[in-house]
Symmetry: C2
Subunit: 270 residues, 2 copies
């Protein structure tokens, strides 16, 4: 099996792939766009993609990538993101003049560096890539913010642990595939729909979900560019049997303009 | 009048303050947290705060800051964010080895720099602060990504215009104040509520809004940390007369656990 991840070995995406599938062949992608295309073109069997976190909310552009590339969500996984500060063996925090990482990791750890105003924060493409380059180039004085497995893989010392500001930083990842597998007993669906223009259509749609005992676990409106009064919604729905979802999907037809099922899968727990 | 902005003079927040109030005394805040506290403590009359953009969605942590500091949204404003690359007079793109800006601006302009892999992207606290320091220190070889007014204020040359990837990058700002002013003919409200645990309560709430001819222009569910099955919602509601909102607010009582009105104000157009 071949799995596309965002970033290089040692990234949080790698950690999720490892958790779900163990040791597999990895395709390292530098962007979510590249990852989506690799899955759509059949270069890999699956792709692992972050889709949101408990602090900042959804990564909306990734929903667009899934939809535009015709991908299917076939699984989900939650990972607690704990950021580690790592450097060459023997280095300590006092030796560090520059910290490199992905902009999101830098943002999440910014309060930690308030006490170290002389340390320069430099953005890189990827958390694990920053760790990799420190080892490859034997860079003294430079630290990376990355996952604990990146420290192991690239043989670096963790010089400060769990430096992210908010400690409950769970990130939700989804597995995307070209084809929608027939899953055993799925109980969750992710959909993207445009409600019809009539006032109250969203309320009617949610009433139908309620009548089918479908639990709405996420809803987010997305303004449609250039169409100020039209909204697209992303929603996650949980149910006991697929039949509930199938019925609701038929019944909401009068109240929607468009509906894309991004995936039907088994829910995971945090 | 004294207005708190995020960032320094020349920031996009300054641009919004200028648009709304003309020349006023500014309090430059390095974080949204500091800005919120300045408003709550009465150090300023108003604060200008970015609350979301058309690409990435809401800045959820800012809703939390408004709520936790007991602030009121009293106005909104949309600004098209056009990023300019600027450097000391006489410099051209070929001279640049490093570009400094806020991580969000760097992200939005990343595709532009694909053709210049030798340019290092370095994150700073603020777009305009990066521009300011280039002028103050006479830094050759360094460029900043910032607003066009930053180029004017800090006397820099724009060496590449509108370098952001997506051209319709409208950002929504809100004005926050300590007290809820009595506004003339408000037609919009931002609320934060926790629906009661019963299935279908969100559908009932939206049905009530629909019956009062209230238009839902934004809804987003926010997972409540440590309470996996409870959700908080942020919603923007538009109406013609305040009376519609007042009635709906009473009628939804049975279906909500908590409701905070973050503000009642006049809507702005994009």
């Amino acid at each position: 099996m071949k799995v596309a991840i965002q970033g290089v070995k040692g990234s949080y995406h790698h950690q999720v792939a490892d958790l779900l599938y163990g040791e597999v062949e990895l395709l390292e992608c530098s962007t979510f766009d590249q990852l989506s295309r690799a899955v759509a073109q059949g270069d890999v069997d699956k792709g692992v993609m972050a889709i949101g976190n408990s602090i900042a909310g959804s990564i909306l552009p990734n929903y667009t990538l899934i939809s535009e590339n015709g991908l299917n969500i076939t699984a989900e996984c939650y990972l607690d993101i704990d950021h580690q500060l790592m450097a060459l063996k023997g280095q300590s925090l006092d030796d560090i003049v520059e910290v490199q990482s992905h902009p999101m990791a830098l943002l999440q750890c910014k309060p930690f560096f308030r006490d170290y105003p002389e340390i320069k924060l430099v953005e890189t493409d990827d958390t694990a890539a920053a760790a990799y380059r420190i080892q490859r180039d034997g860079k003294k004085g430079i630290a990376a913010i990355a996952s604990s497995i990146a420290a192991t893989i690239y043989d670096l010392d963790i010089i400060a642990s769990d430096i992210q500001e908010i400690k409950n930083n769970a990130t939700r990842f989804v597995v995307v595939e070209k084809e929608q597998e027939d899953q055993q007993e799925p109980n969750k669906a992710t959909i993207n729909f445009v409600s019809s223009h009539e006032a109250g259509s969203l309320a009617r749609i949610l009433t139908i979900f309620g009548a089918q005992r479908i639990n709405l676990t996420k809803i987010q409106s997305i303004p449609i560019v250039d169409k100020p009064f039209l909204f697209s919604f992303v929603a996650d729905l949980e149910f006991e049997a697929l039949d509930q979802f199938t019925k609701a999907r038929q019944q909401i037809q009068p109240y929607i303009k468009e509906l894309t099922v991004l995936g039907i899968y088994k829910s995971a727990t945090l």
